[in-house]
Symmetry: C2
Subunit: 194 residues, 2 copies
């Protein structure tokens, strides 16, 4: 489906930012390691405070022995579509600098790394969808996450699949969604947004 039928940017920008979107319909095919590595490589070059690079990633392919445990973290509703993802990736961030002082922007910086990963995978022909609906309390145990590392989100990665293979409740939502206009979130000098 051409994204341009659903999204019209108000200002002239690189098509990459508009064309990337987050489908739920995936094919379930195996993702090559090279594709995952390219995604992490792009994330690697994101900017971060003091170049601390607080992002951490744990990946699990659908075909791997770790899949059941990671997939089991998802809320029931997300399991309905994410079982056709090719991989799940947990995105985590280190909450302190190496000297022990708090890193106020660990999640913010890791969000920039996530954007790089999403865009690189998209350029390679793969899609991603971030998942906030998962068992945050269980995630630390299941993923073996040490203290001082926060779990930010999970990401589903896959090749876009047929919409009619989705559970019915998701079929009508399977189009690139819109955004508020700039006036809703940009102002000059002082805060005047929504």
């Amino acid at each position: 489906m051409p994204v341009r039928e659903h999204r019209r940017p108000d200002h002239d920008i690189d098509p990459l930012f508009v064309n990337r979107w987050s489908p739920r319909a995936y094919t379930g095919e195996e993702i090559p390691d090279t594709i995952l590595e390219q995604g992490f490589e792009a994330a690697r070059w994101a900017p971060s405070a003091r170049n601390a690079q607080p992002w951490r990633f744990i990946h699990s392919k659908r075909q791997s022995s770790s899949w059941a445990a990671v997939f089991g973290l998802l809320n029931e509703r997300n399991r309905l579509w994410a079982d056709k993802a090719s991989a799940l990736i947990a995105v985590l961030s280190k909450t302190t600098y190496d000297d022990g002082s708090p890193n106020h922007t660990h999640s913010f910086d890791t969000g920039a790394a996530w954007a790089n990963l999403a865009h690189q995978l998209f350029l390679a022909g793969w899609h991603t969808r971030a998942i906030g609906g998962f068992d945050r309390a269980a995630a630390g145990n299941v993923l073996g996450v040490p203290e001082g590392i926060a779990v930010d989100i999970l990401i589903a990665v896959g090749r876009q699949g047929p919409v009619d293979a989705l559970a019915e409740e998701f079929q009508l939502q399977e189009t690139p969604n819109g955004r508020r206009p700039l006036t809703a979130f940009v102002s000059e000098g002082v805060y005047r947004a929504g």
Copy 2:
């Protein structure tokens, strides 16, 4: 300065991610509104939990009446170079969903929007540098930020300027910095990163 002299990716990725970097040397020239709008437009299309679009931006051009107040938030050390930026942008995020429930990923999602902004500006010939060193306590007042909105970072935007116009302490650092290898932050199934 060619970025490739300083950065060699280990995996084949789009050059955009490697070529974007964060200089301190800027020209101070006026930034056209169209360039700023393109940056915000790219940020606009970032993914976010429940499509809540928690990002907010407050911009101030060097030539504007608001500049002195925003610039005054910076730590002394950052003022030494940021006085040649063309604009400062405060990046903020709404900490709750519209129904009042907490948004766990407000900063994370806003970090993705920041990556889009940085890349779009870079593609248009402008550079950005995020600034964590500023008076966080004063920022809310100076920028008129209401409750429930977090200040994530400030960003300097500008055209790259001559290195020898920088204060001496910054001149030797004015090259694209490196990153840890993938093995330091990526693992399979369970956490095994650094």
